[in-house]
């Protein structure tokens, strides 16, 4: 079962400049680009550059260019634009390095990258999840997230199979997710699906939607 977020109607509304769809488009791919570039340890400044350039190019393509041939794969299309923009910026930066010779050594970039998703409340929830785990599992997660050790080294040191590590991560994340949803409801995650349904049926319902994404 696939959970498609996009269809031809969505793409059409976006091309027509529908404010609610534009807001959703910005919010959804704001997160997508953040997640994608975070995994590549791209700096926050560059993430912002890629985001702005990507969204601009996609909207231009929809409104003045060829558009997309497979609306149901609109996300994949945006992903390819992100890849192109990232390659171009990397190439540009390599030809014109912005780092001066006397620039100090960079510190752990994950601190800056993660700052937008770390809150005191979330830390308390995560701490509660960690406390509920056996000591060995806590050690594994500490080695993964804090020590940032290689997975093979962790498995070898703590005598666990790679599958166990994946299952542990999955369970810990699931517990956190349960606590998070219990606290906040489904938040933007759940409201997104509801919004998609409303957007898809707005014409049938005969309503005008004004949504502001924060």
């Amino acid at each position: 079962m696939e959970f498609h977020a996009f269809d031809a109607d969505y793409v059409r509304r976006l091309a027509d400049g529908d404010p609610a769809t534009e807001s959703h488009f910005g919010a959804y791919f704001h997160k997508f680009i953040f997640l994608k570039l975070r995994s590549r340890r791209v700096s926050p400044e560059m993430i912002e550059d890629v985001r702005q350039e990507t969204l601009l190019r996609v909207l231009k393509s929809l409104r003045h260019g060829a558009g997309v041939t497979h609306p149901e794969r609109f996300g994949s299309f945006v992903n390819s634009v992100v890849n192109n923009v990232l390659l171009e910026l990397n190439y540009k930066n390599s030809k014109h390095p912005q780092v001066e010779e006397d620039t100090p050594e960079p510190f752990d970039d994950r601190v800056d990258l993660d700052a937008t998703v770390i809150t005191e409340e979330r830390k308390r929830m995560v701490a509660a999840v960690l406390v509920g785990l056996p000591g060995k599992d806590q050690d594994i997660l500490r080695l993964v997230f804090f020590e940032d050790l290689d997975r093979a080294v962790i498995c070898n040191r703590l005598k666990v199979e790679p599958d166990y590590l994946r299952v542990l991560l999955h369970r810990a994340k699931a517990k956190f997710q349960t606590a998070y949803i219990k606290r906040h409801g489904t938040g933007w995650l759940g409201s997104y699906s509801v919004l998609m349904w409303i957007l898809g049926n707005a014409g049938v319902l005969g309503i005008t939607i004004q949504v502001r994404w924060n």
Binding site: D114, V126, R151, K173, L189
Partner: protein, 221 residues
């Protein structure tokens, strides 16, 4: 990559911790760009990972401070649990200090002339007199037929209290017994008793002589 495959391989968690090969990562990104469920999963895993890292970092920063002992508090803690060792240590320290400052220097320091007295038994009409001094040297005739190598001597006051006692070497034949008592005597009457040695213990009395210590300087006899 389809959704079922992503679920089966736990792609969300592996993606967040960088556990996917580059081709798997690219394929999963292409999938979750279009899959609302998977982007939710990746976001949740990312949020968990970032906050877990922050929690572990804070724990690591807090642990050294908690484990670091306060030196003065830790040092004196035992004192309040049980004061006896502390008092005993203080007493021993005071004793050692007294010995080092007073007693030992006193024994090594120069002394005034030792008072000396010749005793010939209590048969004389008057008691020999000796001036008070830092120590006392006693010479008395010794005529003991057993000829033992050692004799026991004891210095007593008028109440019979032993002021100094112990074995000394017996003199050679026809030689007087020459005894040194390292005591400071107050004016008064004292008695020296000599006993024979029997298997390392004091036995029968051999001789006894008394003398008198005076406050005024008196020419010793």
């Amino acid at each position: 990559m389809d959704h079922e495959t992503a679920i089966q391989m736990k792609a969300s968690e592996r993606y967040v911790v960088g556990d996917l090969a580059s081709h798997e990562r690219d394929a999963f990104e292409e999938h979750f760009a279009d899959c609302s469920r998977c982007i939710d999963d990746v976001w949740m895993a990312t949020t968990f990972a970032a906050n877990a890292r922050a929690v572990f970092r804070e724990q690591a920063q807090a642990q050294p401070a908690q484990a670091k002992p306060v030196p003065r508090k830790a040092f004196f803690k035992w004192l309040f649990v049980s004061p006896v060792p502390a008092l005993a240590a203080t007493a021993f320290a005071a004793l050692i200090a007294y010995q080092n400052i007073v007693v030992i220097p006193g024994t090594k320091s120069p002394r005034s002339a030792v008072a000396s007295v010749n005793l010939d038994g209590d048969t004389r009409a008057g008691l020999p007199k000796v001036a008070a001094g830092d120590a006392l040297r006693v010479r008395m005739p010794f005529d003991h037929p057993s000829g033992g190598a050692r004799v026991f001597v004891e210095l007593m006051d008028t109440l019979g209290n032993s002021l100094s006692s112990g074995p000394v070497a017996a003199p050679a034949p026809n030689q007087p017994l020459d005894i040194y008592f390292p005591v400071r005597l107050a004016p008064g009457r004292y008695t020296v008793v000599v006993r024979s040695d029997k298997s390392g213990r004091a036995a029968e009395e051999i001789a006894r002589s008394s003398f008198e210590v005076t406050a005024q300087e008196t020419k010793s006899q």
